[in-house]
């Protein structure tokens, strides 16, 4: 399709209306900024932004109300993560007696925050609601290594997630209420 250019008037071809409107716009903004507080810059370290609901910041791991790691090391997030930022070391066959009826949890869980693109796929895919994109947006470190967050760091940054799932607790209670199988 050919779009016809509008014919310019003699005056317009002399650039005068352009000059005039340019001057008007710039002058108005100049005046606004100077005298009417029309400034839009937020002076970052002093002024902070209120992070809106649903913002996708850094992904962290959460614990449940019983202080148990919710993550079961299913590695779905590792699989789905587009930039391969997540690296999980599964626990292996050894049974950890300290975790009660928690069958599985990661031995190591690393997120490389330099690779993470904050897409939120990990949160979406997680079947255990164990990983959430929180509101942290300013991640800094002095080395690349420092930007690889390990399990302890992710868990302490993520904190406790107070949901109603309480999977392991409920399982334990259910099993205990059935005579066929009484966990010690």
């Amino acid at each position: 399709m050919i779009i016809k250019r509008t014919e310019l008037s003699w005056l317009e071809r002399m650039y005068f209306p352009t000059l005039w409107s340019g001057l008007r716009v710039t002058a108005r903004h100049f005046y606004d900024t100077l005298f009417r507080g029309g400034r839009v810059t937020m002076e970052y370290p002093e002024q902070r932004w209120t992070v809106p609901e649903g913002y996708r910041g850094a992904p962290y791991l959460v614990k449940d109300a019983e202080d148990r790691t919710k993550c079961v090391s299913c590695q779905l997030c590792e699989f789905v993560c587009p930039p391969k930022a997540i690296k999980i070391t599964p626990p292996g066959p050894a049974v950890d007696p300290t975790t009660g009826n928690v069958e599985k949890r990661p031995r190591e869980f690393e997120i490389n925050m330099l690779r993470c693109i904050f897409c939120g796929f990990c949160q979406e895919v997680c079947p255990e609601e164990a990983i959430f994109l929180m509101k942290d947006y300013s991640l800094t470190g002095l080395s690349r290594k420092e930007m690889i967050y390990d399990k302890e760091k992710l868990l302490s940054l993520g904190g406790v997630h107070n949901d109603q799932i309480r999977k392991w607790k409920k399982k334990e209670a259910e099993a205990a209420s059935q005579e066929a199988f009484k966990p010690e």
Binding site: G22, T26, F30, T33, L34, G38, R39, T41
Partner: protein, 368 residues
């Protein structure tokens, strides 16, 4: 050392010239630095931003009201910028033509400084004329020198040995040549009116009150000169040689650190030189038609008068600098064909017509 001192004491004019050169540079360089700051601050204000407001000096920053005020103003920013230019890695890419690559930044800066030599920036201070070189052919000298400035840019484009700088260099030479003509034509009527090529004489001509300012007598010439000045200094809306969006910075793409800073300073020095030219040619130079400030002072005029004239000159230059800056944030870049069209098909004929009309009027006046 001794010989040098001898020359200075025995030849007063040499000593005074040296002193003036030093004084001019001492004013010019900070002006360059602060016009960069002005550019950043003004653009910030036009765009609802804050602009540089972080750099603080240890002691002065502590002074109660003044310190924070200067910091917010960005007053120390030029220091930081300068320091940064010095400290950055001076990187010379492997593929450049080394000698030219080193030469180009200097070539870009020097002509801008040299133009200042013929501009009368004041009347008299004591018995000393406030101009470095009171040449009879001042304007010709200026034109000669200004056109040298393009070599710096063309050389930079060539030396960088890569495509964007090369395109930038080519554009720059074409643009400068085109507008040099228009510019030259625009000043001819001025000198027809004044009858002399000496810039001091031009100012003397304009000292008869506001109506004698050439901007009112030759408005067309002024407009052409001003637009050409924008083009010659590669300022928006004519910054095609360096247009970041298409040429990644144009001729100085490959430059970094201090070499880049030299180009940068060259651009702003050019702006100042052009403003000074315009002030001299059209805006009455150091005169002001009030408070008797336009009386041509003589050799033993009061010192305060001489200082006031220098002040007036600087103030006029600064006003023009603000215009330069403002236009940059007001207008978008021209397309290359529009630029050429404006130069060759509008301003050159217009300049020619202006000469003819002026000549005819002068002829008729002379007849009466």
């Amino acid at each position: 050392m001794q010989a040098l001192l001898d020359i200075l004491t025995n030849h007063r004019e040499v000593a005074m010239s040296l002193a003036k050169i030093v004084a001019v540079l001492a004013v010019l360089l900070p002006m360059v630095a602060y016009s960069v700051l002005a550019e950043r601050k003004l653009s910030a204000l036009i765009q609802n931003r804050v602009g540089p407001n972080r750099v603080a000096l240890p002691l002065i920053g502590g002074i109660p009201i003044l310190g924070p005020f200067l910091t917010r103003l960005g007053f120390w920013q030029p220091l930081a910028d300068g320091l940064k230019s010095f400290l950055k890695e001076d990187f010379t890419p492997a593929h450049v033509r080394k000698a030219y690559f080193w030469l180009a930044p200097a070539l870009a800066l020097v002509p801008a400084f040299m133009t200042m030599a013929v501009i009368p920036f004041g009347s008299f201070l004591g018995r000393e004329r406030m101009v470095l070189a009171d040449l009879n052919v001042g304007i010709l000298y200026t034109f000669g020198i200004v056109s040298l400035g393009v070599y710096g840019i063309v050389l930079a484009g060539y030396a960088a040995n890569s495509k964007y700088p090369f395109l930038g260099g080519i554009r720059s030479s074409a643009q400068l040549i085109s507008y040099e003509i228009a510019m030259g034509m625009s000043v001819v009527p001025v000198f027809m009116l004044v009858g002399d090529l000496n810039l001091s004489k031009v100012i003397a001509y304009q000292s008869d009150g506001l109506t004698s300012w050439l901007v009112f007598k030759q408005p067309v010439a002024f407009v052409i000169f001003m637009v050409a000045a924008f083009a010659e200094t590669n300022r928006l809306p004519f910054d095609l040689p360096e247009s970041e969006t298409e040429l990644v910075g144009g001729y100085h793409t490959e430059y970094s650190s201090m070499k880049f800073a030299l180009f940068f300073m060259g651009e702003y020095s050019n702006m100042i030189a052009s403003s000074a030219m315009m002030v001299t040619l059209f805006l009455g130079g150091w005169t002001l038609p009030f408070f008797g400030l336009n009386a041509t002072p003589n050799e033993d005029g009061a010192i305060w008068m001489g200082l006031a004239h220098i002040g007036i000159f600087l103030a006029k230059v600064m006003c023009l600098l603000v215009v330069f800056i403002w236009v940059r944030w007001m207008l978008p870049r021209f397309r290359y064909d529009q630029l050429m069209d404006l130069g060759w098909r509008r301003f050159i004929p217009l300049g020619l017509a202006n000469i003819v009309v002026t000549a005819v009027i002068l002829f008729l006046q002379a007849k009466q």
